[in-house]
């Protein structure tokens, strides 16, 4: 609508371009209905509280509870801390491994590339439920293959029930998630590496830049924008994560809340758990904070990182 009126004012003689609106409409309508409206609905919900069966406006009261009441804030900071650790593991393990795999795959001497590519990507399309359940079984001290395999190579003494120990559970689950999603950075980087023109590589070779030096000096700078995209995707994905923890550890994210991340914390608050009755208003407050954290992260990336990335046009 706006585009039409603007077009009319500036250039009254040109015909109205209906098709722009018509073609935009489906995407705009669907996106508004299922993304933007619920988002504002959540923001609105977080400003109310249920008192005596009716919704009462309390301003920022729910946020004051969330940060001021130790019954909420302790859990919130714990979840945020765990979530940051979850993200750090992904950044330190998943993305470097993804880049390494992509570099190996793009090497012209490697055979069976298509097979490796598919095999590494398959876990990404598996359901969280399957991944969570399979790894719970693999790591099970009773029926799992992990203790047997470790026994095989004489490392049995290093086996502990990782998912049941406070100090290891979150790291173990982060690594499971890394295993599942390493295919995504691999694919994106792989595509970026393939798009580097052969002339650039040949020119590098003429100048005597080969092997590892070629990767560090020529290819890595060229795929930096892709790495940026991957980082932001990882960030958004990790701070929205929920499914894996829920399927592997349950909504209470045991032992002793050591695997509780913002997603599971939100779930317990919003829907309740066992005897805990759900509180949609507090849940919406947590969801709002999650939204703000992600928004802040994306803004940092957009304004501080992306503007400084150099792009090369071939």
């Amino acid at each position: 609508m706006d585009t039409e009126t603007m077009a009319e004012e500036t250039r009254p003689k040109r015909p109205i371009r209906w098709h722009v609106g018509v073609f935009l409409a489906p995407a705009v309508l669907v996106y508004t209905a299922i993304m933007i409206l619920p988002l504002f609905g959540t923001l609105q919900l977080s400003l109310f509280r249920n008192i005596e069966q009716s919704q009462v406006f309390v301003g920022l009261g729910n946020f004051r509870t969330l940060f001021g009441d130790p019954n909420w804030s302790v859990n919130f900071w714990n979840a945020l801390r765990n979530n940051v650790w979850f993200f750090i593991i992904h950044m330190l393990v998943q993305n470097p491994i993804g880049i390494l795999l992509a570099a190996l795959l793009s090497s012209p001497r490697l055979r069976f590339t298509a097979f490796y590519r598919t095999a590494i990507f398959v876990p990404t399309i598996l359901s969280f439920v399957i991944v969570g359940f399979a790894w719970k079984l693999i790591l099970s001290p009773i029926w799992g293959v992990a203790p047997h395999l470790m026994d095989f190579v004489g490392l049995k003494s290093f086996f502990t029930p990782w998912l049941g120990k406070e100090q290891y559970a979150l790291t173990a689950l982060s690594l499971v998630s890394v295993w599942q999603f390493v295919g995504i950075p691999m694919m994106l980087i792989y595509a970026a590496l393939l798009s580097i023109p052969d002339e650039v590589i040949e020119a590098a070779e003429c100048d005597g830049v080969t092997g590892m030096a070629q990767f560090w000096k020529i290819k890595l700078p060229l795929i930096l924008p892709s790495i940026g995209i991957i980082s932001i995707l990882t960030f958004v994905g990790n701070f929205n994560a929920f499914d894996l923890i829920y399927t592997a550890q349950g909504a209470l994210a045991g032992p002793n809340y050591s695997t509780d991340i913002l997603g599971t914390f939100l779930y317990r608050a919003f829907f309740g758990f066992q005897l805990q009755v759900g509180d949609p208003n507090m849940g919406a407050a947590i969801a709002t904070i999650m939204f703000l954290i992600i928004l802040a992260g994306v803004c940092v990336y957009l304004f501080l990182v992306q503007t400084r990335l150099r792009r090369y046009q071939f």
């Binding site: 001290p141 502990t160 029930p161 045991g254």
Partner: protein, 419 residues
């Protein structure tokens, strides 16, 4: 030819018309439930028994998954598409539905007189004036043991705590069996099968529970910390890697015959009977000295209420009266051994293990889980915290005193007992 066609058409319409009328006379009642496991029992046994006696009323049992039930039911009630009959969770979840006006007051329902006040307590307002669900079943806690293993090792069923630990020591020394099948991964095992199982013997069942609600006792009192001290002693008797052992793992360890004792809830009986290849027995939580009064957790678990928005309240009430009758109790208790009828008239049960469990009602005093009534209304939620702390105590990451202190501090932050 034409007339023939016409008569055929007329006949057709008349038949169609009459079936339409028959359908209109039949009233269909839908039951909302989380007990998907019971689908065949409802379809094959309970519903036919009711329909045979009440022609004109059709009943459909429509369960949803346990973890989704509360959310799904809430959404359906708001949308007005929920079934006529609603399976009730105990205590606050149902109380909340009643307060919202989703459940009807059933205090005057014929058949309600068949239940004791304790049985009705799970589905009453705090003042006890209105009852809104018909109690269906309770579950009893205790220990199930592998009789073959006990015979082989020459063990006697323990009645006191010292005997209990002596038995565990002997099983451990022998080494063939894991003494006790329990894990802490799923948290609730530690709380429900651990703390709430052995606890009533320490806090004297209803006496302690009522005192806790009144504020006369605290979770940091000796009677409430002592069960944690006993739980901490369980640790060496649990299997390797119990920290990551889930609830199904524990069940399988026991039914495969690899563990000797299983801290249980009676709901396991049905599954264990079909899976275990050995003889099983059960004993109630051991008491301190021989001859002490024993207390058991006989926890009200399932009830059924009437959707206030039901279009057929009269027929639904008829059904609920039947649910309150001894007829229903007999079929239900026998079809689902381990879910014990709350009906005051004694029910004859065939299953020996179920008989053993229910026989404790005669010699021990019954109570319900301490955290369920009133005390789990606030934040932090006492039941959830009890799960976490019970697991912490067994894992050794919290001392019994520290766990009790955390629970009491959490409770104090929102619960002010009415003095």
């Amino acid at each position: 030819m034409k007339t023939k066609l016409l008569t055929a058409l007329l006949l057709g319409t008349s038949i169609l018309g009459t079936t339409g009328m028959a359908l209109a006379e039949d009233v269909t009642l839908n039951i909302e439930s989380w007990r998907g496991d019971d689908l065949t029992i409802w379809k094959d046994k309970l519903i036919p028994a009711f329909e045979a006696k009440n022609p004109g009323i059709k009943v459909v049992f429509a369960p949803s998954a346990p973890t989704e039930y509360d959310a799904a039911l809430g959404a359906k009630l708001t949308a007005g598409s929920a079934g006529d009959l609603i399976t009730c969770r105990p205590f606050d979840k149902s109380l909340e539905l009643y307060k919202k006006g989703n459940l009807t007051d059933l205090s005057a329902l014929p058949g309600m007189e068949n239940f004791s006040p304790v049985a009705k307590s799970a589905w009453q307002t705090d003042d006890g004036k209105a009852s809104f669900c018909v109690p269906m079943a309770s579950v009893i806690h205790g220990f199930i043991y592998n009789k073959d293993a006990f015979d082989k090792l020459g063990l006697k069923v323990p009645t006191t705590r010292d005997e209990f630990f002596a038995v565990l020591d002997k099983i451990k020394a022998d080494g063939t069996y894991i003494p006790m099948a329990m894990g802490t991964k799923d948290l609730w095992e530690a709380a429900t099968m651990g703390y709430q199982n052995i606890g009533p013997n320490y806090w004297k069942g209803e006496e302690g529970r009522a005192a806790l609600i009144k504020g006369d006792q605290k979770l940091t009192d000796k009677d409430w910390v002592a069960p944690y001290e006993e739980l901490a002693k369980w640790k060496p008797y649990l299997g390797d890697g119990f920290e990551a052992q889930t609830y199904p793992d524990s069940q399988n360890l026991f039914t495969l015959g690899r563990a000797a004792i299983y801290p249980a809830g009676s709901w396991e009986i049905g599954l264990f009977n079909t899976q275990a290849q050995f003889k099983m027995g059960a004993f109630p939580p051991p008491v301190e000295k021989a001859g002490d009064t024993c207390y058991i957790s006989d926890h009200t678990d399932i009830g059924m209420g009437l959707n206030a928005a039901s279009k057929h309240p009269e027929e639904a009430k008829k059904f609920l009266s039947w649910v309150a009758s001894p007829d229903f109790a007999t079929i239900y208790a026998n079809a689902l051994p381990g879910f014990f009828s709350l009906n005051s008239s004694p029910v004859k049960m065939e299953d020996p293990l179920a008989q053993e469990f229910v026989s404790w009602r005669g010699k021990c005093k019954s109570t319900i889980r301490s955290t369920y009534q009133i005390l789990s209304r606030g934040t932090p939620n006492l039941e959830n915290e009890t799960w976490v702390e019970s697991a912490n105590v067994i894992n050794g990451t919290d001392t019994p005193e520290a766990a009790a202190k955390k629970l009491q501090t959490g409770l104090d932050s929102w619960y002010k007992p009415a003095k």
